[in-house]
Amino acid sequence: MRMRREQSAGRGRSSSRVHYGMSEIIITIVLVVLAVITIFPLVVPLLFAFKTQLEFAYHPWAIPEALRWNNFAEAWKAVRIDQGLLNTLIVCFGSILCTIPSAVLAGYVFARYRSRVTEILFYAILIGYFVPVQMVLVPLYRMEVSLKMNDTLYGLFLPMAAFGIPFWTLIYRSFFKSLPRELAEAASIDGAGHTKTFFRVMLPLAQPATVLAVLQVFMGAWNDYLLSLILLSDQNKFTMQLRVASFLNSYGTDRMPRYAAAVIISALPTLILYLVGHRWIIKGMLSGAIKE
């Protein structure tokens, strides 16, 4: 591909070929600089976190004299990211288990069993897509308090699922609509009932959509802050995000090395997740592109 471009550009004047290469180099350098700026705030904490406060005050940018881990120990005690992580994972899986089965079933019916009633119900569900979470915070909180559901993790992931279902129903509906009709016809000629056709034929075919849905719902629950802030007040139930947020409230940036250590500890789970699955995450983000 580069060959071809150079050939076509090099037609005639030989200088244009050099010019092309130059602008490629310059643009690449600009991009690399931007990338370094992007990474910079994530790398600098490593430089700060191993220093004592005194060492940091005098030589913030020097290589640390020794690898001192006590900042990490203190930051760990202050953030307790492990406990938050466990709660976050429970919320993530709860949210997946509630959102996706409901959305698959509804999306399938709306795609394949179209009648006046199902169309009306489809539009009723679609309304949920237009409702911002902020709108319903107050009644949601009051309802959960009266049902004694606040301060529980299921009290968090159930409404979360309700907010996700409209979008994923829409996605599954268009997915099932795109499948050829003959598949279902073949199954029903073979004598399969509605349930059997769905579970044996349709659900396995929906696997690509389901993989992306699982990923997206997981990330959504992983990243939630507002709902957890409203619905959880018991420290033991705090998700990772709330743990970090309460660290921000109660520990200042004046002891910067400890703060930097807390940054590293808190960012690590997500960074590991990203390192392992960034191809999938990028693909998933694109497929759910016009979501928010």
Binding site: A35, T38, A162, T169
Partner: protein, 311 residues
């Protein structure tokens, strides 16, 4: 499912009835979970929001119907207007700064696809996956007074003016500090979205342009930009709706302060509802957010949703 109906029309009436019932039962149980979730956690709260917005309700006292009083009070609420102003200027600056920057990165990355392209894409997208609490934490890390990253840079360079700035404590700078960290965090998504759109432009267009001797910039201006007209408009609407819901970063970095310098609609709602326990007023703000985001979402749909757009 026409085939099922077709088959049953030939069958006896009894069988027809039974199959019909099976079908309805199947439909019923498929839709039931979704409907239950939505009725309990969405429709009922929506109805309650509208009702509460017309009452005076605190956590303890009884609800009193006050008509549109809450909405009228919003018109005299300094904090609410500060939130409204910040939300729209946030949307404006996202469109003016974040989108062109993302377009530049996306276009350059796809124009020269070389060995750097995919790693750089992964780097630019990385901040996007960080949960907002961690983004806020990094924002404070960068902009903190005395020991923050920028202040430390100022010290080591000997620039006293830079070393003495308190970004988050200064009402004129706090908004921009949060905006900067948001640009860092959110642009990655615009980059990968625009990249995927640019990669869908037929190769022949570029080859033809190059045969005509078009430079990189005229290719960008006359071919890529017009092709991206629709995705860019979609992103502009996303920026606007996103600003209406803006809450996490300003709440964690400055809690709306200093004063009302970084208040957003979400933060006013949170302050009224969950700090002052004035449910009625908070519900009224919720309705305002809903109406505004509805207007912009309808705009998004009326931009002409292409068939492949949903998935």
């Amino acid at each position: 499912m026409e085939i099922v109906e077709g088959k049953t029309s030939f069958a006896g009436k009894k069988k027809h009835k039974k199959q019909d019932r099976n079908r309805s039962v199947f439909i019923f149980f498929c839709i039931l979970p979704a409907i239950l979730f939505l009725v309990i956690f969405l429709y009922y709260p929506i109805e309650e929001t509208f009702r509460l917005s017309l009452t005076k309700t605190t956590g303890l006292s009884k609800e009193v119907f006050v008509g549109t009083d809450n909405y009228q009070r919003l018109f005299h609420d300094e904090e609410f207007f500060a939130g409204l102003k910040h939300v729209f200027s946030w949307a404006f600056w996202s469109i003016v700064i974040q989108l062109p920057l993302s377009f530049f990165i996306a276009f350059s990355l796809t124009y020269y696809s070389n060995r750097f392209t995919r790693p750089l894409q992964a780097v630019f997208f990385l901040p996007n996956v960080l949960p907002s609490a961690i983004t806020a934490m990094l924002g404070k890390f960068v902009f903190a007074p005395n020991y923050g990253l920028i202040v430390s840079l100022g010290k080591v360079l000997g620039w006293k003016w830079l070393a003495s700035i308190d970004f988050l404590g200064n009402p004129n700078l706090a908004f921009w500090a949060i905006f900067a960290i948001a640009t860092w965090a959110y642009s990655g998504f615009y980059v990968i979205y625009l990249m995927s759109r640019i990669e869908q432009i037929p190769r022949e267009l570029r080859e033809a342009a190059e045969l005509d001797g078009a430079s990189m910039w005229s290719y960008a201006r006359h071919i890529v930009l017009p092709e991206l007209n629709y995705p860019l408009r979609i992103l502009a609407v996303l920026c606007t709706v996103g600003s209406l819901k803006l809450f996490d970063l300003p709440n964690m970095m400055t809690t709306g302060g200093p004063g009302n310098a970084t208040v957003t609609l979400g933060i006013t709602l949170y302050r009224h509802g969950f700090i002052n326990w004035n449910y009625g007023k908070a519900a009224a703000i919720g309705v305002v957010i809903f109406v505004l985001s509805l207007v912009f979402t309808i705009l998004q749909f009326s931009l002409g949703r292409k068939k492949d757009e949903a998935i």
